[in-house]
Symmetry: C2
Subunit: 150 residues, 2 copies
């Protein structure tokens, strides 16, 4: 898709949907565990070779617990929730910024009563996520216990 074939302005139609932007399944792979997450690709650039995506996690939902070599640069633009980055969990809210370094376990969880919507900047060419081995997830996500229910 060439840059100049794209519409120059795509309006926000309300409720975090945009003109000409499809709401996609979060993962193509149906065996990967997650709950109530959608994905929208807002920008898909060649230079820089990067995508800016909008993910929305419905109240009580969560993204896949995973790690990979590629990094994520995240900004919350809706609601609130929590995130795991390595061995620490954090309460996150509107406009907070999150860096996910290489090979760092991470997961985003929406609050029970609010969605969590965030922008995620990522390289176009990137490695596939790794999932925890059987029984490993409980230990990795232990830091969430320190937060209670934000």
């Amino acid at each position: 898709m060439s840059q100049d074939a794209k519409p120059l302005v795509r309006r926000h139609r309300g409720d975090f949907h945009w003109e000409g932007v499809d709401v996609l399944k979060y993962k193509q792979d149906d065996t990967t565990p997650f709950r109530d997450v959608t994905r929208q690709v807002l920008f898909d650039a060649q230079d820089p070779p990067a995508q800016l995506r909008y993910f929305e996690v419905a109240p009580g939902g969560w993204t896949t617990l995973e790690r990979h070599e590629h990094v994520h640069a995240v900004m919350v633009i809706r609601g609130r929730g929590t995130c795991l980055v390595g061995d620490q969990a954090h309460a996150i809210a509107l406009h907070d910024l999150v860096n996910i370094p290489p090979m760092t376990w991470h997961q985003f969880r929406a609050a029970a009563d609010e969605p969590l919507g965030f922008l995620c900047l990522v390289a176009s060419d990137r490695d596939r996520p790794q999932l925890p081995r059987d029984g490993e997830a409980e230990t990795i996500t232990k830091p969430f216990d320190t937060l209670g229910n934000p």
Copy 2:
């Protein structure tokens, strides 16, 4: 600056300022025309080699009228205003998306009574902007006249 030396979570301190993010001059070059614009670098990545910046134009202010080979991917996250992209001007508001293609004249203007704050994704390695020649700006910015005062 290595990815993993950065703080993992940088909180929004309110009013579009963030922990550990400096509010910078919009342009280093004092001879370039603009009015009431600040710049904050939110993410500075190596892979993708990209920066995500937050620009804020105060009410009545405007960015430099310019063009360059590198592209901009923009999302409004505060207020409202207008933008010129090539030969068309557009009213823009919260969460609207704007693509600036290569070598396309562009300018962002805040509304008279509201700031215009936007994220701008850009390649780390990019060409310098070109400015209009003397007397050219008035013709290039003519499309703004069609919008009235949004």
